[in-house]
Symmetry: C2
Subunit: 444 residues, 2 copies
């Protein structure tokens, strides 16, 4: 028998920490539901060929086998590493049972066989929202999804979130207008800005056949950032001073369309949750996959976590085409781990119980049970003392668990063990203060 020990990368929480995780998840659920998103869950496994085709790192996929049995080809499955691959399969499989545009949220664990490190888990919760249409999807849903996520994050006990956003059509129009044919290749180079700096990127771009003036323009574009529509003038100025291709009408229209969409996104999000969205034209990650808005989200003072909520607009959820959509995904476990680890919030107690009913001696346990049931019937979480010990020991039982009230069946009195106040009370009508009714999240 192996020694009992944690498994690296598989986080587990104490009961009090689980209260924090469960309430964060419930808060996300509530925001998603308020905006009309329906919940689905998908099975934990997908066929390996579907998983491997969609992953950058096939080695990170956990495969399933059976103890002492060779899997046959048909049963070759692995654990899902995100909620997008299963969602795409679900939409294809259940399309006749769904009404489009389909707004769904999904909060489940996913598994990745990464080398574990701070904030990188092998098993973790993700919370995804997506809206998918059958054939078309209006652009205003790119704003709606970002607004929902901005509100979802604002409702959590975490510092302010900044959503850094960009738009593929803006970038595509600009890049093509200045003569770059391999837009995806250029984006991959620009994505290395942090790693290799502007000079490194310029070398890469010119190596890919990008002209010097175009490379300069691309680097200049990546410097543009604004928390409002202010970025439009900067892009227009740059565009006006950069040599473009002869037949520039089509890319220019694309650029203008992207600019308008990005303005709508930044203004829409900031109207809903002020000081949240920032247009950041250096964001390249995901732009080779997404076709419209892209989002990354950082927490003030916790930028080291990387983006805690990312996503974008895509033209086709499934391989065969069709089902355009827009979605965002929160890395819930990474967030919860930081909330707990940095003591941003904690549970007011580990147990649901607001009341412990004391037991004088075992012969009167039924009377204590009756009091507990009268309280439970009115939604008040209640425990009965496990043993007819001395009252001091029963109060200690409550104190250890953070249960705020002890009810004495024989005297008909209830004691707030924090203040020591003890009053006569009727189990048919007594209520704990609202803030003590259930464990709550206390921020530091």
């Amino acid at each position: 028998m192996a020694r009992v020990r944690p498994l690296s990368g598989f986080p587990e929480w104490t009961p009090a920490e689980r209260v924090v995780e469960a309430q964060l998840i419930e808060s996300l659920r509530e925001t998603f539901r308020l905006h009309g998103f329906a919940e689905i869950e998908t099975r934990a496994v997908e066929p390996l060929d579907r998983l491997a085709g969609k992953s950058d790192a096939a080695k990170e996929i956990y495969t399933l086998g059976r103890l002492g049995a060779e899997p046959d080809a048909e049963s070759k499955v692995g654990l899902h590493f995100d909620l997008t691959v299963p969602f795409a399969r679900y939409v294809e499989e259940f399309q006749h049972a769904l009404a489009f545009p389909f707004k769904r949220f999904q909060i489940q664990k996913v598994w990745r066989g990464e080398r574990p490190q701070e904030g990188r888990y092998r098993e973790f919760y993700q919370a995804d929202i997506d809206v998918v249409g059958r054939d078309t999807l209006p652009a205003h849903l790119e704003v709606e999804v970002a607004v929902v996520m901005a509100r979802a994050l604002a409702a959590l006990p975490v510092p302010a979130a900044t959503m850094r956003v960009n738009n593929r059509r803006l970038v595509e129009g600009f890049y093509r207008g200045v003569g770059i044919d391999d837009v995806a290749g250029a984006l991959r180079s620009v994505d290395k800005l942090d790693k290799i700096g502007p000079d490194g990127v310029r070398v890469e771009l010119t190596g890919k056949g990008v002209s010097a003036s175009a490379a300069d323009a691309v680097l200049e574009l990546a410097r543009i950032s604004a928390p409002d529509a202010g970025f439009v003038a900067a892009v227009e100025d740059l565009w006006a001073t950069t040599p473009t291709i002869d037949d520039v009408a089509e890319p220019q229209a694309e650029l203008r369309e992207g600019l308008a969409q990005l303005v709508a996104l930044v203004e829409g999000v900031n109207a809903a949750v002020p000081d949240t969205a920032v247009a950041d034209l250096r964001i390249a990650r995901g732009l080779d996959y997404y076709t419209g808005s892209v989002y990354e989200t950082f927490l003030a003072g916790h930028e080291d976590l990387g983006s805690i909520c990312s996503g974008g607009r895509y033209d086709s959820l499934v391989a065969g085409g069709g089902f355009p959509g827009v979605g965002m995904s929160i890395g819930v476990s990474r967030l919860v781990s930081r909330v707990i680890g940095a003591n941003l919030a904690r549970a007011s107690r580990a147990v649901p119980s607001a009341v412990l009913v004391a037991v004088t001696d075992e012969s009167t346990r039924p009377a204590s049970n009756a009091i507990a049931d009268a309280l439970r019937a009115r939604g008040i979480a209640t425990e009965v003392a496990p043993a007819a010990a001395k009252f001091g020991k029963q109060i200690q039982y409550a104190d250890r668990r953070g249960i705020p009230f002890v009810w004495f069946a024989d005297s008909g009195e209830v004691k707030d063990i924090r203040s020591g106040d003890q009053v006569a009370a009727d189990p048919a009508s007594w209520e704990p203060p609202a803030e003590d009714a259930r464990p709550r999240i206390v921020t530091s």
Copy 2:
């Protein structure tokens, strides 16, 4: 790319079916919390040596591998097949962070590589409650756990549950008193009553060295059943007329202790949820593992499901000893599958939204959004129409999703699309009827 298809044994639900599953699970949670049980979750994986040692069917354990990588010995893990093995490990690992007796509930998916068949899944939800002490655990908790589960089941949209209960001490005392030394072996034979009948069991028992009179007595004991304390007289009568061993004082005391515990259990459960518990002395399954009360639960009219909620009292949760406890486990997915498949209940709608705010044309979308936000601010789940289509089409959008109300921003009126009633309404104060606020479970 594999064709998109269901995987046998891995159930998935439509959004409306997921509402049923989610609300069933939330109902269980609420009952558990009302009784003071704290929630935990454990990682999906455990070391293989811990899993294999605890399973009757090692072949059913799913092992984890990595695509294109041989797992090293240290990382040999598999998916948990129940919530007891991980709970035992959790208690051992976290014991210094826990207060005992520790009441926990745990609702998670488990995986078993069984041959899939009706009601047998490879991935399914279980809902477990356990109370564990560190060194001792009072017997009245064996009643409490059964009461909590009886209430949890009574709150679900399923037919009446019958909890069939027995007691290991009663059986052990009786068996040993009539001269049976290998009690576990005898129990394994009695467990085959349904399969091989009383004559078959008698042959097996005598083959194991049990005397003819003891075999008869054991079979007679298995015929005793009562929904109240009535079984005590029947057992006492049988005891009085059966030859016992010379030194019978100790087994007789054990028998009497078991009788008293079983009376307390049946009466306690029936006082809480009338007509639920039945003492059934033929129940042998699990008695070789459990040390006190054992429980099996069947649904009226759905006995073919087998026991949907089972468990018992054990003396030691962990291999090294210590941590006596009592627990029960509901097979949630099997229950949900029957509720859906037999149309016992369905969701009033698939989406959370109570209201769809119509959009007259895209230029007035912000006004529609503002109405939606005013409703959401008061907890009313609301969607805004995705396109400024004709009102008939927008009403159809709501109708397809079961959204009961459509709000017309320009006229300031809200229409109940079921009755056709349309009234002027203020988004700052209008409320939907309580039964329409969120999707609810409608029983057939």
